[in-house]
């Protein structure tokens, strides 16, 4: 029986770095050592603490991620993918017909004006003037593709790389691979004001990875810390008393341990109480945006989006590895009708805060190693949606789902700013040049963080699973 055939995993990691070298019979300086070492070291620290910071396969440009999820599916032709040809065809049957989820009709010109921004001159619609100010830091991918025009599978695909079966989410994979910088806060946080998006907590599930890698959900419509983090406060014991309790507890625990063999689990539990004690302070601080200077708060503006993006920045700054920020519960961007009114409202809610976030990160020097991702689970059709009884009856002013081609953008950590990658056809219906599948996006995101997406794996049910399953192609064109 040969040794098993798999990639390094946490439980393999009982070698110290020195032992790894001596066992392999190598001195420093051998070819290819850098990559090997990174791997070995990454693995070693994993065992000490699955959430402790660890090195990826190679030095990544990005160290943390914020994924701003425009759930419901924002329309590409109304935001970042201008299509003058669509205006010319407005009201006419398009020469291409693609099967859509619901019945669709003639070309529907964007009601929004586009204009070039920044040095790069990338065109952005009037919906996102603040984001447009940072366009030279942004790589726009106009040729995204998903598999089907339905929310549920597309959300799971975007988040977990698989449309149906329980698989770990991207944030879980990344915290599994990188750990997190601040042990007093969760490593992976998912924020959604007012409830869950469609498919709910599956969007940040850890599936077969240990539960600690699952996203911690925060309802950012809440401002009360106790509703944000379970058990963060003690209603009946004050701090001085709790300290006295902990001192006694630790004395008893040490006596208990002293009577036994050295057992790291005993010590670990003892330490976890000290962390919990400190967390009570740190967490209050992280979520309290009132601690931000007035100028910063003004930059982000008013409203829930502003507040949650500002909280997100504070969390990233404090060392949280992956923050996912959803626009709202359900599917707010899903504008099957009244698209103009609704897209305008939604963009007004989030444009200023997202623009502020980009500038704020930049001013703090954080943008260079923070990866910012924006997009939905798919885009929308360039053709108008036809009325359906019980849905958008009486209105012919919205767009249907579109997985054939849509736009996402990335900024910061290792991303080549001021870039447009890929293109849809002349109407914005289908990715035509350099299509980028969601798997490819995942491969690229992992690369930016220092991972070879084929090697970040976890053995489950007899197989080494990965975020990109058996797919994924690196989009080199958007790398800085």
């Amino acid at each position: 029986m040969t040794s098993s055939f798999h990639k390094p995993r946490p439980e393999d990691a009982f070698l110290t770095r020195r032992e790894f070298l001596s066992r392999c019979g190598m001195g420093l300086g051998s070819l290819g050592l850098a990559t090997l070492l990174a791997q070995a070291e990454g693995a070693i620290s994993r065992m000490d603490s699955p959430l402790a910071p660890k090195a990826p396969h190679f030095p990544g440009k990005a160290r943390r991620v914020i994924h701003i999820f425009a759930n419901g599916g924002p329309s590409q032709v109304d935001t970042f993918d201008p299509k003058p040809e669509l205006t010319r065809w407005h009201g006419k049957e398009l020469p291409i017909r693609l099967k859509t989820e619901r019945k669709t009709g003639t070309a529907f010109a964007s009601p929004f004006a586009f204009q070039p921004h920044g040095q790069s001159g990338i065109e952005v619609s009037e919906l996102f003037p603040h984001v447009a100010e940072s366009i030279d830091d942004i790589a726009v991918i106009r040729s995204m593709q998903a598999d089907v025009p339905n929310h549920e599978p597309s959300l799971l695909l975007m988040n977990c790389g698989e449309s149906r079966l329980p698989r770990p989410s991207m944030g879980s994979w990344i915290t599994y691979g990188l750990g997190t910088e601040n042990q007093n806060l969760p490593g992976f946080i998912a924020m959604c004001p007012g409830g869950y998006p469609i498919q709910e907590t599956q969007n940040w599930q850890s599936a077969f990875l240990p539960g600690i890698f699952q996203g911690t959900y925060l309802d950012t419509a809440q401002t009360d810390l106790e509703k944000l983090i379970q058990n963060i406060r003690n209603p009946v014991v004050n701090r001085a008393t709790q300290r006295a309790q902990l001192d006694l507890l630790q004395t008893l625990n040490r006596r208990h341990a002293a009577q036994r063999d050295a057992d790291p689990r005993l010590e670990a539990r003892l330490q976890s109480f000290e962390l919990a004690y400190r967390m009570q302070m740190d967490a209050s601080d992280a979520f309290d945006v009132r601690r931000e200077p007035e100028s910063v708060r003004r930059m982000y503006g008013e409203g829930t989006q502003a507040r949650q993006l500002l909280i997100a920045r504070r969390l990233l700054e404090k060392g949280v590895r992956f923050v996912q920020v959803w626009h709202g519960n359900g599917q707010p961007w899903d504008n099957h009708d009244d698209l103009e009114v609704n897209h305008r409202r939604l963009a007004r809610e989030c444009d200023q805060p997202i623009g502020a976030l980009l500038q704020d990160l930049k001013q703090r020097g954080m943008l260079e190693d923070t990866l910012v991702i924006w997009g939905g689970e798919f885009g929308r059709t360039p053709v108008v949606e036809l009325p359906t009884a019980g849905a958008n009856a009486g209105k012919i002013n919205g767009r249907d789902h579109n997985h054939y081609g849509f736009t996402m953008w990335l900024a910061g950590g290792g991303v080549k700013g001021g870039t447009v990658h890929g293109a849809t056809d002349e109407f914005g219906f289908q990715a035509a040049e350099n299509p980028v599948h969601v798997h490819d996006l995942h491969a690229t995101i992992l690369h930016l963080l220092g991972f070879d997406h084929e090697r970040l794996t976890f053995r489950h049910a007899g197989r080494d699973f990965r975020l990109t399953d058996v797919h994924g192609r690196l989009v080199r064109e958007i790398l800085a």
Binding site: R23, C24, M47, E226, L270, M279, A461
Partner: protein, 1027 residues
């Protein structure tokens, strides 16, 4: 001596197993600093010397060779281009026509490396036709491998052409028939109590390791009680066991515990991990999520363990109870929940079947069939056809529309009420349907008349078709029938079926919910039956249902074919499948289960991957022991309780948890079982223990699941808690509950600060601390020392050591001396009242308690008809009472002393009426501000205000002359700028009226010193770990 037994059974450092089992992967989620390095380092001392190199070969080199070189240079491909094969260690050294392919240790001198580097133009591999040069990292990996001496485990693969994978697999240890190894003879035969010991001692002796001495009696009692029941022993049980000096005292304890109903609750829960048990379907859009009857499966499992149902029968019932001769007893139908209570994947049938194949294959056989859904298994002898052979079995089975009753419903009052409640909802639904139908018929009749009129005007007497298709459909029936009779109504019902369905969604949800909310709801089985027309399935090529390949007969996986070589003929084939799985000749079933049982006893399995016994899983160190247990298990009629006895009565099980230094040095990983591995309480045992020692555990068995995530949570055993697989509560995740999505091979054990927060702050733990303190607070424990003693009895079943009593009593006297806890309930209260100008105080503050969404008013029924009118407080404002002087009051109580800042804007939005008056009134210092607003807003902020703990600030609003149009908005935010003493309190520093708008919790008194002590002792490692 790094390796105890390098020749026979190399002790490998946690080899290739998934990180699933808690046994090995103790994941420490806290920063341990330098501590961890030192302690974990011991674990690798037993590594095979070349393991790292082999590991490197397997992970970095072999995949490249297979992918890029084997196509032209291997026995498998039948090609040896250039006379070179690269698929065995010797072939690669032998080389090809141009000489040896590599020089170990010298990459630069190795032809293989030169070729892949493309150093010379006439030797570049792989050739362009095969994809051209390798990626740089692959080249580097091969260079590094040669540099480290080219370690290569492929020594047995020399046998030239590869044999049939199935043939090769049959040689795999786990697929071989279970033999019954002789218990080895050992020198220290007095150490042998059951044959288990003989196997363990033989290995220990061969390695010169002595077993640990027996654990002391209290430790052993605590260990076995937790192990068999998931609960701690009581002080009385411990005392009795200590007194009992008879030779079979321990045996009698084991019998007592095995006979306890608590046993089934503990061991049933273990099996529920394998069965991926949950009470919900997962995400199913609008459909009701809850499984009304999952609990009947859970209760079946618990009962089966308690009754010691033979394991073969247990399995057969779970796969095919519907096909067994029930003799009028339907209770075993509940067993089919094993198949049916998985996730529902938006009702995608392929995924549902996949889930069922997985739970059967991994759960009972430790075969990872899932891979074969899309392609032949890469390693194991599981071709795609095997998967679809089972797919056909499950596709030929269905869930009956009406789930069978478990026993006859009792002819009782609650049951009759249940039926009446059902009928009432059904009547409501019918009323809706009738209304819709009537309305539709009327519409169509009118449309018809309208059309007829128009036709008449146009001079065309023939009846006109209606534009609307649905209406036209009905019109035609109307024309034919002449009047809206029953036929017409039936047609209307058909046409409207979807509409009626939509209109009655809430009714159907209520109807469904009756099944778990109504006390008279009868229990039903989540059953399965065979379809009338069972059929074989076609292979879905690459797992794509749209791309069908050959049809596969329903049958056993090929690797087990010898058990039943013929295709299944009996219905779906589930019963035949079940019988083959539960056959004593099945090489996997008994081994797999015995291994799981071992893990549940020892905290760690004999085979590291309990749900994967495939060819990549090496034979365990204790292979003979595993086989002996498996054969004994089947020989003893698959009795699980007999199996427990074989294990827990052994000396091996009774060893102390302390290893001798020499044993630890020789076998740091304890693979040879020279001591008992300490275990941490899992989630269920932890929660049940807290309730038990607090004297609050409710031992009611079975029935509908209870909420245990909320507070107050039902004090039932945790196994009865409601498990929502879609949104698993944070508490469950924090404490490593097995994922309810997939059959679980074992639990993780993580240590994270969120667990610490739960123990320190959760209302649940605080409640148990109070209950525990109250429980031991008796006349006998007036003094602190006896109180401490009583706590130690209850919690740890032992006397406190003098030092411990001193520590505890010192804590109590210090806690009493500490400045009186500054905890005030603090926060928001709501009421109405008046104001006295002379004293500048609120008068007659009367609390309001009728919460309705975002508003609180004096009593239910709003507005109040008895003089209080619209007086209320809402999240962001409120409404004053009907006359001046009757104010709506939002009261804030300062939890601590300090300096606060108040941010608030009073808005009166309406342009009608005469506006409102607002005051801020302190109970210490009187009127702090007064404003009025009418169709405008006014800033009512205060920059610096000193408050004292317990002081109240009333935000009171009354009307002027009239209270018409007087809804107002006023939601202050109060922030502490400083607190006194600094950081003395854990209460919030920001109080936001709008965010904090909620029904106030009843004020809780601070934890008293004795309760604080009780909490500390509940949190201690001594309670949470079992030696």
């Amino acid at each position: 001596m790094p390796t105890p037994s390098p020749t026979r059974n190399p002790v490998r450092p946690l080899p290739g197993h998934p990180p699933g089992p808690r046994f090995a992967a103790v994941l420490l989620a806290v920063a341990l600093g330098n501590l961890a390095t030192g302690t974990w380092a011991v674990l690798h001392a037993a590594t095979e010397p070349a393991a790292a190199g082999i590991e490197f070969f397997e992970t970095r080199v072999r995949p490249v060779l297979i992918e890029s070189c084997y196509p032209c240079h291997s026995a498998e491909s039948g090609k040896e281009k250039g006379g070179l094969r690269l698929d065995t260690a010797s072939a690669i050294l032998r080389g090809g026509d141009t000489g040896p392919a590599l020089q170990p240790g010298e990459p630069d001198a190795s032809l293989l490396i030169k070729a892949i580097r493309g150093d010379s133009p006439d030797l570049q591999m792989p050739p362009a036709s095969r994809g051209g040069p390798l990626p740089v990292e692959q080249v580097e990996a091969l260079e590094a491998w040669v540099a480290m001496g080219a370690p290569d485990p492929r020594t047995q693969e020399d046998a030239a052409p590869r044999t049939d994978p199935l043939e090769a697999a049959r040689r795999h240890w786990a697929f071989q028939p279970i033999t019954r190894p002789e218990a080895p003879r050992v020198t220290g035969s007095d150490g042998v109590r059951t044959p288990v010991d003989a196997f363990v001692l033989a290995k220990l002796e061969a390695n010169g390791i002595a077993p640990a001495p027996p654990a002391d009696k209290p430790t052993l009692l605590r260990r076995i009680t937790y192990d068999l029941t998931g609960l701690p022993p009581t002080w009385a049980e411990t005392a009795a066991f200590l007194r009992d000096e008879s030779p079979d005292a321990y045996e009698r304890v084991v019998e007592r515990l095995l006979a306890s109903p608590r046993y089934g609750e503990r061991w049933g829960r273990h099996w529920l991990d394998v069965a991926r048990y949950a009470d919900t379907k997962g995400y199913v859009f609008q459909e009701e999520r809850r499984y009304a009857y999952a609990y009947t499966y859970r209760d079946y499992v618990i009962r089966a363990f308690n009754e010691d149902k033979p394991f073969d029968r247990f399995l057969i019932e779970q796969l095919a109870a519907d096909r067994l001769d029930s003799d009028g007893d339907h209770s075993s139908l509940a067993a089919l929940g094993f198949l049916t209570l998985g996730r529902r994947f938006l009702n995608n049938p392929h995924d549902i079947i996949d889930d069922r194949i997985d739970v059967v294959a991994r759960g009972t056989l430790a075969l990872t069939m899932g891979c074969a859904r899309c392609h032949d298994h890469k390693f194991d002898p599981i071709p795609t056809e095997d998967y679809y052979a089972l797919y056909g079995v499950f596709a030929s089975s269905e869930e009956p529309g009406e789930k069978p009753l478990l026993g006859d419903p009792p002819d009782s009052e609650p049951y009759r009420e249940f039926l009446a409640a059902q009928a009432a909802i059904e009547a409501e639904m019918e009323a809706i349907a009738v209304k819709e139908i009537d309305a539709f018929i009327t519409t169509v009749q009118q449309a018809r008349e309208e059309a007829a009129k128009q036709a008449e005007t146009a001079g065309d007497p023939t009846p006109k078709a209606l534009d609307n298709g649905d209406q036209e459909r009905l019109r035609q029936v109307l024309e034919a029938e002449g009047e809206p009779n029953e036929q017409v109504r039936a047609e209307a019902r058909r046409i409207l079926s979807r509409q009626i369905g939509n209109a009655t969604v809430p009714h159907r949800q209520r109807l469904e919910a009756l099944n778990w909310t109504h006390p008279g709801a009868p229990a039903r089985a989540m059953a399965m039956t065979d379809r009338a027309q069972p059929a074989d399935a076609a292979v879905f090529i690459r797992g794509n249902p749209g791309n069908r390949g050959a049809t596969v007969p329903r049958r056993l996986p090929a690797v087990l074919a010898s058990l039943a070589p013929e295709p299944f003929r009996d219905g779906s084939g589930r019963l035949e499948l079940a019988r083959a799985i539960a056959s004593p000749d099945n090489p996997l079933t008994a081994r797999v289960f015995v291994n799981r049982v071992w893990a549940w006893h020892f905290g760690r399995p004999l085979v590291d991957t309990p749900s994967d016994f495939g060819v990549r899983t090496p034979a365990p160190v204790q292979r003979e022991l595993l086989d002996w247990l498996a054969s004994e298990f089947t020989a003893q009629g698959w009795s699980i309780k007999t199996l427990h006895r074989l294990i827990v009565l052994s000396n091996t099980y009774r060893q102390s948890a302390t290893a001798s230094p020499s044993a630890r040095a020789a076998d740091p990983d304890n693979r040879l079982l020279h001591h008992f591995d300490r275990q941490r309480l899992d989630f269920e045992a932890m929660r049940d223990t807290l309730l038990a020692v607090a004297g609050r555990l409710d031992l009611t068995m079975g029935g509908q699941p209870v909420e245990i995530d909320d507070f107050p949570s039902a004090p039932r055993r945790t196994v009865y808690g409601f498990i929502d697989r879609q949104n698993l509560p944070g508490l469950f995740r924090t404490f490593d509950l097995a994922s309810p999505d997939l059959s679980s091979p074992g639990r993780f054990t993580t240590t994270v600060p969120q667990q610490g927060l739960f123990f320190l702050n959760s209302p649940f733990v605080l409640e148990q601390s109070r209950a525990l303190a109250a429980r031991v607070d008796t006349p006998r424990t007036k003094a602190d020392a006896p109180f401490v003693q009583a706590l130690y009895h209850e919690l740890y079943q032992r006397e406190p050591e003098p030092g411990e009593t001193d520590l505890a009593t010192a804590f109590l006297s210090r806690a009493t001396d500490l400045p009186k806890a500054t905890v005030h309930p603090g926060g928001w209260h709501y009421g109405y009242g008046g104001y006295d100008d002379a004293t500048e105080r609120t008068t007659e503050f009367t609390p309001m308690s009728a919460f309705e969404g975002r508003r609180v008013s004096p009593k239910a029924g709003f507005p109040d008809r008895e003089g209080l009118g619209y007086v209320s407080v809402t999240a962001d404002g409120g409404h004053p009472g009907p006359k001046p002087g009757l104010a709506s009051i939002r009261r804030w109580e300062a939890p601590t002393s300090g300096m606060v800042r108040i941010t608030a804007t009073l808005r009166h939005p309406n342009d009608q009426g005469d506006g409102v008056r607002a005051r801020v009134v302190s109970n210490h210092r009187g009127l702090l501000g007064e404003w009025s607003a009418h169709h405008d807003s006014v800033d009512t902020g205060m920059s610096e205000l000193a408050v004292q703990a317990g002081e109240t600030l009333d935000f009171a609003v009354d009307c002027r002359a009239s209270d018409a149009y007087d809804s107002f908005q006023w939601a202050p935010v109060i922030e502490y700028v400083t607190t006194e003493p600094e950081g003395a309190d854990t209460s919030p520093t920001v109080w936001d009226a709008q965010a904090g708008f909620a029904s106030p919790r009843p004020p809780q008194p601070p934890l008293a010193p004795r309760e604080q002590l009780a909490q500390v002792l509940l949190l201690a490692n001594e309670l949470m770990f079992v030696d």
